[in-house]
């Protein structure tokens, strides 16, 4: 008997630099190949350090289809373990977050330390001394962290995280300035699913073109200053390819660096917040907090599964070829003024999540993409907007106007590189 190797779909006829076939959204074989070739072969975001601040703190998650546990051990090191007992495969944890001293399999009681080592096996004498526990730790992924963003990979031999992030690091540095002098901490999350392929959401993070139309309901509900600020197609923004599938879309150029222009007038919409903060904080700190409260003026899309999106982390988790889970993780100031964090949470609730004034409209159009993608698989998804005006920056990055599909082209180029291997 011979084992048949899992057939790899030939992706060459399906993708060009400026277009992709809709089967990329609909073909289960392509999805299966993506889980292996992409999610098992690169750095995948798993947590923010503030989600597991203390020894023993853990959360569960996924890397591609693999259930994982992200845990901080007694010495403070973060581990990412495959959530699977080495005996007969049961998960050793089904709690989404918490604090523990160990992970014990509920089936036969094998117990693992926080670092994944196998500590206890009930009725061990049944193995007649043949069980070498050192050979059966939880399977652990490689873990690296940048600015509190924790990534994991199954690959021992790929380059370090900092090399993978490359030019995106500068934008992560800028994004974290919204702590306004305090460490950035997560403040909770909105989690929702839509019936569509994960790449539809991946594209959307650097899609300014849809904003005035899909989010007209949100824009109508907000104030004049916010409308002016979010008039993103007319503010001189840009999209830039940062390599390795990453890209940045600058929607509000004046909010690239939150520490610039601190002496600018405080917007009318934040006057009450500023007055409240001024009771306990000096003028410059008030200005720093207020300027950062709505987040950075850009979306940084990190291939394949996370974005630093204005004022929150957007995390996507493929569930199946036609289902995707999205988390919008709110962030704020650790130890910062409660009024500032409250303002951030109210802004988050306003737009994000299943009951926000923005996300449900996004989810609706993505749902429509998945439905429409069932129609005539010979047609192309066009990704050529802004190609004609694209130029290279001094660093050699492709850049075009804010409504260009440059970020999508960057993501699909990385997709094609990884899928062709």
């Amino acid at each position: 008997m011979t084992l048949t190797a899992q057939a790899d779909p030939d992706i060459r006829p399906l993708i060009q630099p400026d277009r992709a076939k809709t089967t990329l959204y609909t073909d289960p074989e392509i999805f299966s190949a993506e889980m292996r070739k992409i999610f098992e072969n690169t750095w995948v975001w798993v947590a923010h350090a503030s989600e597991i601040p203390n020894p023993g703190d853990f959360k569960t998650g996924q890397v591609g289809p693999h259930p994982v546990i992200i845990v901080r051990d007694r010495k403070g090191a973060v581990h990412v373990h495959v959530n699977r007992c080495r005996h007969r495969a049961a998960t050793v944890c089904e709690v989404s977050k918490g604090r523990t001293n160990s992970f014990v399999c509920p089936y036969h009681g094998w117990s693992y330390a926080l670092d994944g080592s196998l500590r206890g096996v009930p009725y061990e004498k049944g193995y007649e001394g043949s069980l070498d526990k050192s050979q059966f730790p939880l399977r652990s992924l490689r873990v690296e962290e940048y600015h509190g963003m924790i990534f994991a990979t199954f690959r021992k031999d790929i380059g370090p995280l900092v090399d993978f992030l490359g030019p995106a690091k500068k934008w992560i540095d800028l994004f974290m300035k919204q702590g306004a002098g305090y460490p950035v901490t997560t403040l909770g999350e909105h989690k929702f699913r839509f019936p569509g392929n994960w790449k539809i959401q991946l594209e959307n993070t650097t899609d300014a073109y849809h904003f005035p139309l899909v989010h007209k309901s949100f824009l109508t509900a907000t104030d004049k200053e916010t409308q002016a600020s979010l008039d993103m197609l007319n503010k001189g923004g840009f999209v830039e390819d940062l390599g390795n599938g990453h890209s940045v879309m600058v929607m509000i150029p004046e909010l690239i660096d939150l520490e610039d222009n601190l002496d600018a007038p405080i917007p009318e919409k934040f006057k009450d917040l500023a007055a409240e903060l001024a009771k306990d904080h000096g003028d410059i700190e008030v200005r720093r907090i207020v300027r950062a409260v709505g987040g950075s003026g850009f979306n940084l899309n990190l291939f394949p599964n996370v974005a630093c999106s204005m004022a929150f982390f957007r995390v996507l988790q493929p569930i199946s070829v036609e289902e995707t889970e999205i988390r919008h993780i709110a962030i704020g100031m650790k130890g910062g003024p409660a009024a500032g964090n409250r303002a951030r949470m109210r802004l988050h609730e306003f737009f994000q999540g299943p009951m926000g004034f923005g996300s449900p409209d996004d989810a609706e159009v993505w749902d429509r993409v998945q439905h429409g993608a069932q129609g005539d698989h010979d047609l192309w998804v066009m990704l050529n907007r802004g190609l004609a005006t694209e130029s290279a920056t001094a660093e050699g990055h492709r850049r075009s106007d804010v409504s260009a599909e440059t970020g999508m082209r960057a993501a699909y180029a990385q997709w094609a590189r990884m899928m062709a291997v």
Binding site: H190, K191, F192, R342, R346, E349, M355, F357, P360
Partner: protein, 160 residues
């Protein structure tokens, strides 16, 4: 303003009325059911009580409730065009407390939404803080605790 305690019958009849207004899209009337400083809350964490200092799915004061109603009516929101049809059932009412200041009522709510060929269900404990204001009952707080609030939801383009 009378301070006669609210009875279970009164409270039930009132929340059924509110449920019917939402299912039949009578939003103007619905907006008048609230006290001026009331909040409509859909929390995330089970057992949460400090809603103001927590991230919620919805934490609506009067202005936000008005915006939510406008969104349902404007035709500008693609997820609310058309607005999903909803039918909600409330039962298992329990008056947790009732005194001269008002009452705390808890009930079960099972809601079915239907839109674009899809039927979905949301089940919740609903907690009402009701007060008597000029002989009429008013909502001082409504908290919708979804049974699956910590799991992934789908877009909810209506009022729970």
């Amino acid at each position: 303003m009378t301070t006669q305690p609210i009875t279970l019958d009164e409270a039930m009849a009132f929340t059924w009325y509110e449920a019917d207004l939402l299912d039949s899209a009578q939003y103007d009337e619905w907006l008048t059911l609230w006290t001026a400083d009331a909040h409509y809350v859909v929390p995330i964490e089970p057992g949460a009580t400090d809603f103001e200092n927590s991230l919620n799915y919805a934490y609506d004061d009067h202005t936000m409730r008005e915006k939510r109603v406008s969104r349902l009516r404007s035709g500008l929101s693609i997820s609310a065009s058309p607005v999903p049809r909803t039918i909600r059932i409330q039962s298992r009412f329990r008056l947790l407390k009732s005194d001269a200041d008002g009452c705390d009522l808890r009930c079960a709510q099972i809601l079915t939404e239907f839109r674009r060929g899809r039927e979905r269900n949301y089940t919740a404990d609903v907690e009402f803080r009701l007060v008597r204001d000029d002989e009429k009952l008013k909502i001082a707080q409504k908290v919708v605790r979804l049974i699956n609030s910590t799991e992934a939801l789908t877009g909810i383009g209506y009022i729970l």
